[in-house]
């Protein structure tokens, strides 16, 4: 099993959710987060004064999938989250050693 963490533009959350639902991914976790990458924050102007906002609002999604589904899910996220502009975010894949469904105690891919 793989844990896929994607940090994306907040307004791309719905397209990503729809894309993953479309290829049969049954669950995900989404959080509002702040961060910056090469984009390095942005500038806002209030009453003529410039403010540097270092941390930009982002949405982090976490989804655990079967090893076989890894490539398809990554492709779906990339296709649906991409706008082509700086700040589209990043995606990380980690190995998952164990998964437990809390209600039943089932373990492994069946618990996904």
């Amino acid at each position: 099993m793989k844990l896929i963490i994607a940090v994306i533009q907040p307004h791309r959350l719905d397209p990503v959710r729809e894309a993953l639902a479309g290829i049969g991914v049954q669950g995900m976790t989404a959080s509002e987060v702040q961060g910056y990458g090469r984009q390095g924050g942005h500038r806002e102007i209030y009453r003529g004064a410039e403010y540097t906002v270092h941390f930009v609002p982002k949405t982090k999604i976490e989804v655990v999938v079967r090893d076989d589904d890894e490539d398809r899910v990554i492709e779906a996220i990339q296709a649906s989250a991409r706008t082509g502009r700086i700040g589209d975010g990043k995606l990380f894949v980690l190995d998952v050693s164990r998964t437990v469904r809390i209600r039943t105690g089932e373990e492994g891919e069946i618990a996904l």
Binding site: I45, G48, A49, T52
Partner: protein, 437 residues
């Protein structure tokens, strides 16, 4: 003095009102107007609404989230403190009989409203109503200064400063202009507080922050306003409340109040559009914080002129307020490097002085105004207005400097660096504006 109708009548009425206030013996049979009284009661509520919650929300949205409650607390507690101070001593100093020194300050004869009952009249309204209406001005004026010092001032310092400021700056300035003092005798025109409210608050804000010092991180490492939406909500309340402020200052429910409301509204709308248009040109985007700041600038600038100019004058004042006040916000912070945090001087001080000077010209009937007093030329009036602005600016600056030193030496003026970093909400009041758990 706040009077109705034309400027020609204003001097006569102001004298009459001063005499009535000084003697306070007229009875209810002597010309009480139910209509006037009803309108000033309403205006009193509108002007209190400007501070609570209008101004409080306007300011609260512009600070960091960790200081939002402290700013609301400043406005609220200053309102309470000013109310009691007004009853105990400030009303009497402003509008009481000063005897031999009446040109400079009123006496203490009206402390605790001594001698004022339900039947005591001030013009065509009960003096109790006049007292309450004027109280709401004494509330909002020190509350305006809150915008200069948020995010770093000690709460006990806010209270002591505001109390001393009301006695040493507001009471004499109000007396000079509206209470029959020397500027009133000279025929100064300040319909609703361009000098008494906006100049005093603006100048004092600037002087106070020069003693207090800037926020940590000023000017390059500051955080942007945490909730501009709150600021817009507060600004909308200010606009509505300003109808009571300016049209109420006619002290009657007639044509003078109606025209004051017209020009107030026109100036606010004009200055809003001008401010936003200039931002659009300068920065590529018109901002909502900008457009509502323009509104306040337009309202502050029309305040001294609102009973004297017509719609044309209101548009002129609105255009100049939107442009000049915006220029000053940048110049004070980036040019002079002074952290008047929420631009009290640039918006209220500059706007108030602008309207105070322009009224001498825009009151001319040829420009749609209601005319200057008989036998007074534009030049004469300009000199009078300038003397008033200079005198009140000097009073505000000197007294504020002295008060700030007194506060710094007693309660202390500034919080510790640690408390400033943690925010005044939790360190000053033990509360958090937003529970994000």
């Amino acid at each position: 003095m706040k009077t109705c109708g034309s400027a020609r009548r204003s001097v006569g009425l102001s004298t009459l009102l001063a005499v009535l206030l000084a003697t306070g013996h007229a009875s209810a049979d002597d010309g009480l107007s139910g209509g006037d009284t009803a309108w000033i009661l309403t205006s009193t509520a509108l002007v209190l609404f400007m501070t609570l919650p209008g101004l409080a929300l306007f300011y609260a949205g512009l600070v960091r989230s960790r200081n939002v409650l402290s700013v609301l607390m400043h406005c609220f507690s200053v309102a309470c403190l000013a109310s009691i101070a007004w009853l105990v001593v400030v009303y009497s100093l402003a509008f009481g009989d000063g005897g031999g020194v009446h040109a400079v300050i009123g006496g203490l004869g009206k402390s605790f409203l001594a001698g004022v009952g339900p039947d005591t009249m001030a013009g065509s309204i009960p003096e109790t109503v006049f007292f309450m209406f004027q109280m709401t001005f004494a509330i909002i004026t020190p509350a305006l200064i809150v915008g200069a010092f948020p995010e770093r001032i000690r709460f006990s310092g806010v209270l002591l400063f505001s109390l001393l400021w009301l006695i040493l700056v507001y009471a004499p300035a109000c007396h000079w202009v509206w209470g029959g003092g020397w500027l009133a005798d000279m025929g100064v025109m300040d319909f609703a507080g361009g000098i008494v409210v906006h100049t005093t608050a603006g100048v004092s804000a600037l002087v106070l922050v020069m003693v207090l010092g800037p926020r940590r991180g000023f000017p390059n490492e500051l955080r942007p306003p945490h909730n501009p939406g709150l600021t817009v909500v507060g600004a909308c309340m200010l606009w509505v409340g300003w109808f009571g402020f300016n049209a109420g200052s006619a002290l009657s429910a007639g044509g003078g109040a109606g025209m004051a409301m017209v020009v107030t509204h026109v100036s606010a709308a004009t200055a809003s559009l001008v401010w936003a248009a200039i931002e659009w040109y300068r920065f590529g985007k018109p901002s909502v914080v900008g457009i509502v700041t323009g509104m306040v600038a337009g309202l502050a600038a029309i305040t001294p002129a609102s009973g004297f100019v017509g719609p044309f004058g209101a548009i002129v004042i609105g255009v100049l307020a939107g442009a000049l006040c915006q220029w000053f916000t940048t110049w004070i912070k980036q040019g002079l490097n002074i952290d008047d945090s929420l631009d009290v001087f640039a918006v209220h001080g500059v706007g108030g002085v602008l309207g105070t000077m322009l009224v001498a010209v825009l009151a001319l009937p040829g420009l749609g105004g209601l005319g200057l007093a008989e036998g007074v030329s534009v030049g004469d009036q300009l000199v009078t207005q300038l003397i008033a602005v200079v005198a009140v600016t000097a009073l505000s600056a000197v007294m504020t400097f002295i008060i700030a030193r007194i506060v710094a030496a007693t309660t202390g003026l500034r919080v510790s660096t640690e408390d400033e970093i943690d925010g005044l909400d939790i360190t000053g009041h033990g509360e958090r504006g937003y529970d994000l758990s």
